[in-house]
Amino acid sequence: MKKIITLDINHEHYEVAVEPNQTLLDTLRYQLGLTGTKKGCEVGDCGACTVIMDGVTVNSCLVLAMQAEGRQITTIEGLETKEGMHPLQTAFVEKGAIQCGFCTSGMILSARVLLDKNPEPTEEGIRRGIAGNLCRCTGYQKIVEAVQSAADGMKEGHQ
């Protein structure tokens, strides 16, 4: 039976009627039009559906919409500000870290949480941080470089 719940996504409140067996991923994509969150496997293996929930990354294909009620959710659509793209997004564009782009949303969100926790990650630290996001195109090299470059840039920005 459908139930109306309120989801807090990118600091906006959405009232949606959801079935118990509906995932957060499907709700974002097919009900709310937030299609930046991608679907690659539906069982937690690829990380394309990564969103930030209460400050940590999760696979939205393994979260029920009803479980997400009352939590703060950030999707790729929530990263831009009035000033434009988030430094990570800019770095991904400039460093060539994007090929097909299907992993990109999840990758950037994982990197975002990584940098929130550790603004000066090592290369190994970056690889650990994005280890749950599979990318078939890049071999991760330019992604790692982009995260490093964003971290450097953000540090300078703070000083």
Partner: protein, 788 residues
């Protein structure tokens, strides 16, 4: 200083901002009013007769709008190679693999469609099945297709020179083999599509494909529609690598359902279906015998290959040809004999994947060359240099190396990796290895024989002259082709990249065979360059008439008209432009300069919309023998790679410490994108070398149809990779450019095999090098040594 303004830079990709912000639209992101959802009914058996199909219960389920089987679809045979059209949209007499398609349902939502498909009753009579090459070839083995005697779906027999005679003159003759496993393309976006059908009989398919053109043709053929009524549009695509290079049953079924219902129909594969219908890399078994002189001169290669092809032919004929022909270079090899067999089995069909047909053959040979070098007491890198081809050489099987920076690539990786101080000198458990490879930049013919252009491009300048719109049916699937063509167009017109907008991937934009065989940069690039130069000429021609300056005395650079001799008086033109410009917000350029925008606006007054066109088809290529079309290409990219590894000898686990890669791409159009292709190729090669293997049980059912148990590399499995660009300036390529997308995967596996040997002294002749295989190889090696 580069002679180019746009080419050779690191311009950010034109599609990157959309992808970085989640704005880029992929097919599953689309929806349409009234859209229905489709589901397939697939065979649970690997081989069975179909006795009957009863769809009545499915039709009765509320919400179901259509159910289609072979009755509605018809029995037109289609496939990839016209010589082996062996598929119908739905099975009618029997199923040949688990997952074979029997029926499709369209319903108001996905849950209903899936439920309805499960209500279709099929009466099967199971048949004995064959899964391995040995089983398929056994006496009395059941036939997958009645037409393929002994289950051989294709065979190749070629000899160039006289191998037996040459072997007699050799000082060392070595025979080795290599067995690989089936790999999957494992792109992150599963295939999907939306089909629509309008009241005038126009069928439009939005699909995650690499080849809109072939999909269009296949749909028209299988559905019996005029080609002109079929349009295929490619939104952003989340990787292809070969699996999205031919029309799929999903696309066929969606179109059929849309035609039946008159509504848009969406169908998306789940991950298991990607594995079942991916048609990715075959399993290969190669045996090679190479003869060399004492000084390392390679004399002859005798080569036999067996491919497990699965239930349908798909790209398989090309695959089995490539497996032989791509050994013709990059070493001087006067004599080569090849016998290749592609075997039909009751496993899911195989097709093309990055490095089509050539990867395992290359791996086998490059490992063997290392063993030969060792026996001759030579540095394996020197052995390669000794035999290396250079620009202008033609292989024994007629591949013309019109440019070839192979030698430079070897030298570059040798120096960058400090090879000389590492090879043979690293501690036990650590090793370094190298290998080379090359690949085509497109093929001489489409998959079907035709005189068609392989691509046509149009560039249209907007009325104000401020934007040039490049239209091409080529496929941006992640490799960066949109950016490449936008850059070529900008360079060709002499304007900044920011003034170019590209639209691609729609059959309405012209003809383009699509993204496969690493063809687009060279071929679509040539057509784009031609179209751009055509636009430039038209603008200059109009200007010439206004200013009375000969066209030859003008050029366009960085968005401005360059007057090679005296600058004419521009004031009249300027005044005209300013008058024309009154209510427009963009300002005219400085008084003494004339911009492309101003010039194009003036040109518009006399010529109307400026449209430049370009087209390309390869010139006549070498080779008159049977199968010469598979391997001959206008140009060849090549690369040398060095892998550094460490091996945990107690567990057999390999860690790749570093990869150093040099690739000759002729001319980098976009340096960042070239490196990115090099990285991606290495990643896929390392996955195949170390982990990847699609597994089946003894009933032909998938054992690891997910990305947990099918193990592609994660960020933690990948080493730092150094990508070094070599530019040999290909005469047949646009601005000297040729392929980069596939040549780089050719050396990867062998570089790892050779590095592992350097680390632990063990040669392994089966992939992948997962911990257990390496551990057992070490154990066997030690036991053998202990006995001696």
């Amino acid at each position: 200083m580069s002679q180019y303004d746009v080419i050779g830079t690191r311009a950010p990709r034109v599609d990157a901002p959309a992808k970085a912000t989640g704005r880029a639209i992929f097919v599953d992101d689309m929806s349409m009013p009234g859209m229905l959802y489709g589901a397939l009914l697939q065979s649970p058996y690997a081989h069975a007769l179909i006795r009957g199909i009863d769809v009545s219960a499915a039709l009765k389920l509320p919400g179901v709008k259509a159910v289609v089987t072979h009755k509605e679809a018809g029995l037109v045979k289609y496939g990839v190679s016209p010589a082996r059209y062996d598929e119908t949209i739905f099975c009618y007499d029997k199923v040949r693999q688990v997952g074979d398609n029997i029926a499709a349902v369209a319903a108001v939502d996905m849950a209903t469609a899936v439920e309805a498909a499960s209500l279709i009753k099929v009466d099967y009579e199971e048949l004995p099945a064959v899964f391995t090459i040995e089983e398929a070839l056994a006496d009395g083995a059941p036939l997958v297709h009645d037409d393929y005697k002994r289950n051989i779906s294709a065979e190749v027999h070629q000899e160039f020179g006289d191998v037996e005679a040459a072997l007699k003159e050799c000082d060392l003759i070595k025979t080795t083999s290599l067995k690989s496993k089936r790999q999957d393309c494992a792109f992150i976006e599963p295939q999907g599509c939306i089909a629509t059908y309008d009241l005038s009989g126009n069928l439009t398919l939005y699909s995650s494909t690499q080849t809109t053109h072939y999909v269009q043709r296949s749909l028209a053929m299988a559905l019996g529609a005029p080609v002109g009524k079929v349009r295929v549009v490619k939104p952003y695509v989340g990787g292809g690598f070969g699996s999205k290079a031919s029309a799929s049953h999903l696309e066929m079924a969606a179109c059929l359902l849309a035609m039946q219902t008159g509504k848009p129909v969406k169908m998306i594969f789940d991950r298991e279906q990607v594995f079942l219908h991916g048609r990715a890399r075959h399993q290969f078994v190669h045996t090679m015998t190479t003869g060399v002189k004492k000084d390392g001169t390679i004399m002859a290669l005798k080569h036999e290959a067996w491919l497990n092809g699965g239930a349908y032919s798909s790209f398989g004929i090309a695959t089995v040809y490539y497996a032989g022909s791509l050994l013709g270079g990059p070493y001087k090899l006067p004599n080569m004999k090849y016998d290749g067999y592609r075997i039909a089995t009751n496993l899911p069909a195989c097709g093309a994947q990055r490095g089509h047909g050539g990867v395992i053959a290359r791996s086998c040979w490059e490992q063997q060359l290392d063993m030969i070098a060792e026996e001759l007491g030579m540095d394996p890198l020197e052995l390669r240099l000794k035999n290396i081809m250079t620009a202008g050489d033609v292989t024994c099987n007629d591949l013309d190396m019109s440019s070839l920076g192979m030698k430079e690539c070897i030298e570059v990786v040798r120096d960058a990796s400090d090879w000389k101080n590492k090879k043979g000198k690293l501690p036990q458990g650590k090793g370094i290895g190298m290998a080379c490879g090359f690949f085509v930049s497109g093929a001489g013919f489409p998959i079907y024989r035709s005189e068609t252009f392989h691509c046509t491009v149009t560039i249209k300048v907007t009325e104000d002259g401020g934007t040039a719109i490049v239209s091409t049916a080529s496929a941006e699937i992640g490799q960066g082709s949109d950016t490449t063509f936008a850059m070529i167009a900008a360079e060709g017109m002499g304007i900044p990249l920011g003034m170019v907008r590209i639209e691609s991937g729609d059959t309405d934009f012209g003809v383009d065979l699509g993204a496969y065989s690493s063809r687009q940069t060279l071929m679509t690039g040539q057509a784009t360059k031609q179209a751009a130069e055509n636009v430039k000429m038209q603008v200059l021609d109009a200007l010439s008439k206004e200013l009375h300056v000969p066209v030859e005395d003008m050029d366009i650079k960085k968005g401005y008209i360059v007057f090679k001799k005296d600058k004419p008086d521009l004031s009249a033109l300027k005044t005209r432009y300013i008058k024309e410009h009154r209510e427009w917000t963009d300002n005219p350029s400085l008084d003494d300069e004339l911009s492309f925008r101003e010039a194009s606006r003036i040109a518009f007054f006399t010529k109307g919309t400026i449209v430049g066109t370009g087209m390309y088809k390869p010139p006549e290529l070498g080779g008159k023998f049977k199968g010469a079309a598979v391997g001959t290409s206008p140009a060849y990219g090549c690369s040398a790679q060095i892998a550094e590894v460490s091996v945990d000898e107690q567990t057999g686990r390999i860690t790749i410490e570093k990869m150093t890669d040099a690739h000759d791409c002729g001319q980098a159009i976009n340096r960042t994108s070239v490196e990115a292709q090099m990285h991606g190729s290495m990643a896929m090669g390392l996955g195949e070398a170390l982990f990847e293997e699609v597994k089946f049980d003894d009933k032909g059912r998938l054992l690891n149809g997910d990305l947990a148990e099918y193990k592609m590399p994660t960020a933690l499995d990948m080493p730092p990779m150094e990508a070094l660009i070599v530019e040999s300036h290909e005469p047949n390529g646009p601005y000297g450019a040729k392929e980069v997308g596939e040549g780089n995967i050719m050396p990867t596996i062998a570089a790892v095999l050779n590095a592992v040997h350097d680390a632990i002294g063990v040669r392994i002749h089966e992939l992948p090098l997962n911990p257990e295989r390496v551990y057992l190889a070490i154990k066997e090696y030690r036991e053998k040594n202990a006995k001696q």
